[in-house]
């Protein structure tokens, strides 16, 4: 029997409401892949002026050391013009102020946790641990994940509450060669959240050898800290301020990808440059996203560029390339020659590697508007030889230490997902915590060279594998030579889908150090383990990451001379 017209209408009201309400939500906000903040309200790519983070000013200096004070605090930033977004910044700056260091001169940074007791949306306690990525710091100053510094009123993992808040002094030796380092949060279980909210900054180290080269310097030596972000639906708060909080997805176990690409905190900026060579220190500070960069001029031609330095500093020789892939934690210093593009524009673009989540404008990074006048022609050359002093690059397989049976020492790290968790060789950080920080993956001897093999047997994801303490040389990728841009000292390696990477690693100081995935969501849950470098005579290092320099009570800070 068919329905009467009246029945059809009445049933239609029911069915229509049942379908339309969820469908409206699907079209509007909240669903996977949707962007709650309307894309039309985002700044148009290449319209916002480029800027660089402020340079940090020492609190005090003496004959051998620069002292800095950094307060980690919540800050209302305006990443999207007209909308306030609450971020976490070092001294209120996102990215943090750039620390400039010179080889041979030490740096001490007092990091004070003045963050709120709880993240206003995500509800977590923003305890911190600051890692200086690229520095061979002592274990207790390396930003060991579980060596945390608490905010006032924050709840610790054991459920206790920190009444006064804490600070910690980090000592950096700066005995290594010139390089681009970066400092960022490494607090256990929410490194991703903290770094995503802005706790990251650059740290450049110079040395005499590098300063003597005719490479671009000063205003022609520019940091490009690149990240991504996603924003929640905008609203007006009780004080009448328009707000767009950051959106951090907790449900995607593979990572977190934003639809806004920012450089030094500005979405898709426009930078005015002179028609000459520039040196850019490109740091990818994303939580999960990887990039494949290329440069294209408004004339339609691809713009080649030279890679001059990798994570650990200068390469033996510059490499001229037309694109390179780069992921979280990696630094490449590149030189672009704008001299042929006076009056034109050059775009930095991204052809996203596989297993990223892409949105409308994630294929764009920034634009260079090339002027017609060069104000300084000095330091405008890339020499054909950059350095011969990087011992790491002179390592060969013959130098690999032998075990008791006379076989070369080869260690394999399998990056894998097992039982719903991200693991290194089946190990998660929980295992290290449960062992009272005693469990170690391996115990290399100080002063020796080992071969490490990094394996990713999955086609479903890539991992940025970071080994603390050391510089390493990429020996082979899937049995073949490394890519041109990787032919310099490294501390993070792109471990792509179904890739096996062979590294030569030298251990120049002793202690317990972390090795982990730099997809920070993987790292937090819980793709991180540790190794312990023993003294040359096989004894344990005296310095301990958890106990040798613990965070102190904030009530004592004023009395504690820095």
């Amino acid at each position: 029997m068919s329905l009467s017209r009246r029945d059809v209408i009445k049933t239609g009201v029911f069915a229509g409401a049942a379908v339309a309400l969820p469908a409206a939500k699907l079209a509007g906000v909240g669903a996977a892949g949707a962007t709650p903040f309307p894309e039309a309200l985002l700044p148009k790519p290449f319209t916002r002026p480029f800027s660089t983070p402020p340079v940090a000013v020492p609190y005090r200096k003496d004959a051998t050391c620069d002292y800095y004070k950094m307060s980690m605090q919540a800050v209302d930033a305006e990443m999207i013009p007209g909308y306030k977004t609450t971020l976490f910044g070092y001294n209120g700056s996102v990215p943090g102020p750039t620390i400039q260091a010179t080889q041979g001169r030490q740096v001490v940074v007092r990091h004070m946790n003045a963050l709120p007791a709880q993240h206003p949306i995500l509800g977590y306690t923003p305890w911190t641990s600051v890692h200086l990525h690229g520095s061979a710091s002592l274990p207790q100053y390396d930003g060991y994940a579980s060596d945390v510094t608490m905010p006032v009123g924050g709840t610790r993992e054991d459920g206790s509450v920190c009444t006064d808040g804490e600070y910690k002094d980090y000592h950096y030796p700066n005995h290594q060669q010139a390089r681009t380092l970066w400092y960022h949060d490494h607090g256990v279980h929410h490194t991703a959240e903290n770094a995503y909210h802005g706790l990251a900054g650059m740290y450049t180290m110079y040395d005499a050898e590098e300063r003597a080269l005719p490479l671009p310097q000063g205003k022609y030596d520019v940091p490009l800290i690149i990240g991504d972000a996603m924003f929640q639906a905008p609203f007006t708060d009780a004080a009448g301020v328009k707000r767009a909080p950051l959106l951090f997805s907790l449900d995607n176990q593979s990572g977190h990808w934003g639809n806004v690409i920012w450089v030094n905190g500005t979405p898709w900026p426009l930078m005015k440059v002179e028609p000459r060579k520039y040196r850019f220190r490109v740091l990818v500070a994303t939580i999960s996203r990887s990039f494949k960069f290329n440069f294209k001029a408004s004339t339609g031609v691809a713009v080649p560029y030279q890679v001059i330095a990798t994570d650990g500093g200068l390469m033996p020789a510059p490499m001229t390339i037309s694109s390179h892939r780069q992921l979280g934690g990696e630094r490449y210093e590149i030189v672009i020659d704008f001299s042929k593009f006076a009056g034109k524009t050059v775009d930095m673009l991204n052809t996203s590697p596989t297993n990223n989540i892409d949105y409308t404008n994630t294929n764009k990074v920034m634009r260079f508007q090339v002027g017609t006048v060069v104000t300084d022609t000095r330091n405008n050359t890339v020499p054909t030889t950059l350095t011969r002093k990087r011992d790491i690059m002179n390592l060969t397989e013959a130098m690999v230490a032998k075990d008791a049976t006379g076989k070369p020492i080869v260690r394999t790290l399998r990056l894998e997902r097992s039982n719903g968790q991200w693991t290194v060789n089946g190990t998660t950080w929980e295992k290290i915590v449960a062992s009272n920080y005693e469990f170690v993956e391996c115990t290399p001897l100080m002063g020796t060279v080992e071969k490490w093999i990094i394996q990713n047997n999955s086609g479903g994801w890539f991992h940025p594998l970071h080994i603390h303490l050391v510089d390493f040389k990429v020996l082979r990728r899937n049995g073949r030579p490394p890519m041109a841009h990787e032919m310099g000292p490294k501390d993070v390696v792109y471990t792509g889908e179904n890739e096996t990477i062979e590294l030569l690693v030298r251990f120049d100081s002793a202690g317990k150090y972390m090795v982990h995935c730099h997809n920070l969501v993987h790292e937090d849950h819980d793709m991180m383990t540790q190794f312990e470098v023993l003294e040359a005579d096989g004894t344990k290092c005296f310095d301990d990451p958890m106990t040798s320099a613990m965070a102190k009570d904030m009530a004592l800070e004023a009395l504690d001379v820095l």
Partner: protein, 194 residues
């Protein structure tokens, strides 16, 4: 459904001598029941399929899904074995209306007792990221089940005597209006949707 089964099934399904007389109507009638069986079975299987993940997320929702799956598969079986009495059909209609109502509510508000979200599936622990319970997202699979259930409700309505049907469709209309009122209330009380 095979045609001989239809022939055998015929008297029981019709339950009304006047309607069985004309052959074309019989064909229509039979197809309606057959499609209803398929739809009830599809909806039941969809809920059965989703039961384990719901159980892991929130045990109460797992139980609810299992009960729905059993009920919908039971309805399919009842129809298959020629139980098309008004009682059975009404039970089918109202149980599916209940499922649809819970679905709509779950997409507009967090249900009472619904757990919040921990970071990337990590266990809940002091100091870690944790979002309070929020309305569930809308996906292709659940929209598919919803459409199947709505279709099933319409088909079941055609099996009812016209007076009963008229009363039921009136009640459905009020349900639809209630959905809209609930949606307005939820948006106003939630403020910005997360």
């Amino acid at each position: 459904m095979s045609s001989d089964l239809t022939a055998v099934a015929f008297p029981g399904r019709a339950g009304n001598a006047t309607e069985v007389a004309a052959t074309p109507k019989v064909a229509t009638r039979t197809n309606t029941v057959d499609i209803a069986i398929l739809m009830a079975a599809a909806a039941g299987l969809a809920h059965a399929f989703s039961t384990p993940t719901h159980w892991r997320w929130w045990q109460a929702s797992g139980v609810f899904f299992a009960v729905i799956a059993v009920a919908q598969l039971g309805l399919a079986a009842a129809l298959f074995f020629h139980r098309t009495s008004t009682k059975v059909v009404l039970a089918g209609v109202w149980s599916n209306v209940l499922v649809v109502s819970v679905y709509v509510a779950s997409r507009l508000v967090a249900l009472p007792g619904q757990p919040g979200m921990t970071a990337h599936g990590a266990p809940k622990a002091p100091g870690r990221s944790f979002l309070p319970a929020a309305p569930e997202g809308v996906g292709a699979f659940d929209m598919f089940s919803l459409v199947v259930e709505l279709g099933l409700i319409v088909l079941l309505l055609t099996l009812l005597p016209s007076r009963t049907r008229s009363k039921v469709t009136s009640a459905l209309m009020y349900c639809g209006i209630a959905f809209c009122a609930f949606a307005v209330w939820s948006v106003m009380s939630n403020g910005a949707i997360r």
